[in-house]
Amino acid sequence: MNESMDFLLWARGTAFDVAVAIFVIGVIIRLFEIVSLGRANNLAEPKGSEFGPGMKTIVTRTLPEAGVFKRQPLTVIGGYVFHFGLLISLFLFIPHIELFAATFGFSWPGLPNPIVDAAAVLGIVGLLAVLWHRLTNPVMKILTEKEDYLVWLLTFLPLLTGYLAYHRLVNPYPFILGLHILSVELLLVLFPFTKLMHTFTLFLARWYNGAMNGRRGVES
Amino acid sequence: MTALEKIPILVEAPEAAAQSYLNTLPLLHEILHALRRLHRDGTSTALDLLAMPFGPGDEARLFEFLGNGELSAELDAMGQSSIRESRFSGVWIIEHKSSGGRRVALQIEVTRLPAILQTQPEDIGAGLDAMQEALETLKAGEPV
């Protein structure tokens, strides 16, 4: 009889605990694995330093590159728009900050809801744009694997359900709020086992790329 | 009620009361639209103010804005009621109280004359009977 409320309580309770456990354990193990494995010993003589170029590449690969922009403007714009929209909605929406505060014991100031709302819309539009790009661009089509679609969906659902819940577009509210939380839990559960790990590994990877090139004495 | 009123309560002037909660503005626009309709084609509108999500002070601000007009009337039927026109002709404020003095209805009526002011047909009948009876009981030659 009280399905939607029971569902919300389950999503906020048991399901959340399980998802967080899988996420935290999974991410830590994977990071340990990556760091402890390291890279194969490079016996060749170093032709340059590793640290400087490594740091530099973290910055340069984070900023858009002119050549890529000219060839694939949609990838660049869509990518940035959706990442910023996602990050703003995730980290600067007051109810989310309350959750982080309850989890980690510290918090930060949030943004007024209309701004977060706009960011969420941009995030959704950006994600739709990159999906469209993947589906229509012949090169992107070849590059895209099944996992990419999965990861896209995992990212899209929390934004979509969050938007629907915030604007109360689906009744009853506990149901859509529960769906929103569940979609995030799905994301958390699959996070350590998919490309979503890039959230944690990207700076590591960028540094490594730069460092390798630096060692070989090449520009990166 | 009376026993409760004897308990002294120190009310600190709440800062909340000083500010507007922005809830009266949409209502005023609704009244404006209703007034425009009344002006254009004579359609009356009634709004139930007890169904409005007012915050502290919202109601006072609304009434302050509406002000007092030319006409006000008191009705004594199952408790007191007050019917008054605001400073904007055609906009009426009607408050009904129960016999215990508790407010049971608060309405804005945008109309030429609130229906409750008119004598009801049923009451006219009763009035007719009563007057006839009163006249018949008058003795002939008695000064009226």
Partner: protein, 365 residues
Amino acid sequence: MADPRTKTLGETLRRHGVSRRGFLKFCTATASMMALPPSMVPAVAAALDKASRPSVIWLSFQECTGCTESLTRSHSPTLESLIFDHISLDYHHTLQVASGHAAEKAREEAMHANHGNYLVVVDGSIPLGNPGYSTTAGVSNLQTLEETVAGAAAVIAVGTCAAFGGLPKAYPNPTGAVAVRDIVHDKPVINVSGCPPIPMVITGVLAHYLTFGTLPQLDQYGRPMNFYGTSIHDRCYRRPFYDKGLFADTFDDEGARKGWCLYKLGCKGPMTYNACATAKWNEGTSWPVESGHGCLGCSEPNFWDAGGFYNALSIPVGEVSRSVSYAAAAGLAVGAAAAGLNSRAKAKAKKNHGTVTVDDLEKKS
């Protein structure tokens, strides 16, 4: 005197010397109470004029009498009392003078005389764990309910206990408490939830039945849409602050004094559907958010188990920090073990590493 049951409300009021104006005023107030728009007043007047006196049987099960208190705590003659004067409350074991066999007899007589037409109001949940947990005159609540409801026109489940199980059903539900709707399937059941429900809402539902002879439109939880159709959050006067991101962080900071949104202090307004924001409490004096305390969500199913009252709605029910730290510890342990294995594998690889010279390669090819 004629049987009061056959007399209409219009007749009763006229006999009490109420003028037509007075009657219209009463109808305006009743329409407002039923949360109907003022344009419905003529229809309400026409219907109330002809409304006859329904018989009501009130059953109290596992409850705290708060619902009855809510209804009877009016200090002056009120609209509620007028409506109540007009119904025939034939059984309410807390309020009625008769007790024991006389009381039970009154219930049976009312059931008999009005078979198929009476209303049953229930407050409190029904224990299924052991019938002995709650009985009236030695009869289990379940049996009383089933017997009484058999000849009823409809059932009104007043309060969250009757509507959803409420406090008795809260984890771990020692009595096996269930709601009325879990038992009554063949009769319309209206849930008037709240802990307690707003008195005006209880009477509003009765008035609706009295006026139109039908039951109001219900939401997915069986609650009348007029009162439970919008959330507290959507009608809250503090909503502009929520939208602007202005929140009270404690109960006595600047934000609290300025009347900002109480979301961070645990307000459950966004998931709670009730009429508090407009109907208000204590004869229209105020309501929880107006008095500076967040909504507890008392009209929602399982609200007792929905996490701490002072935790923001977005915070999960369990203890997040604890589960995160446990998970992190587990992750670290497994990660460290994996790292250990990895470094052993690497050491082995290093040990097996041989040097190959150009001569060796040339020799092989």
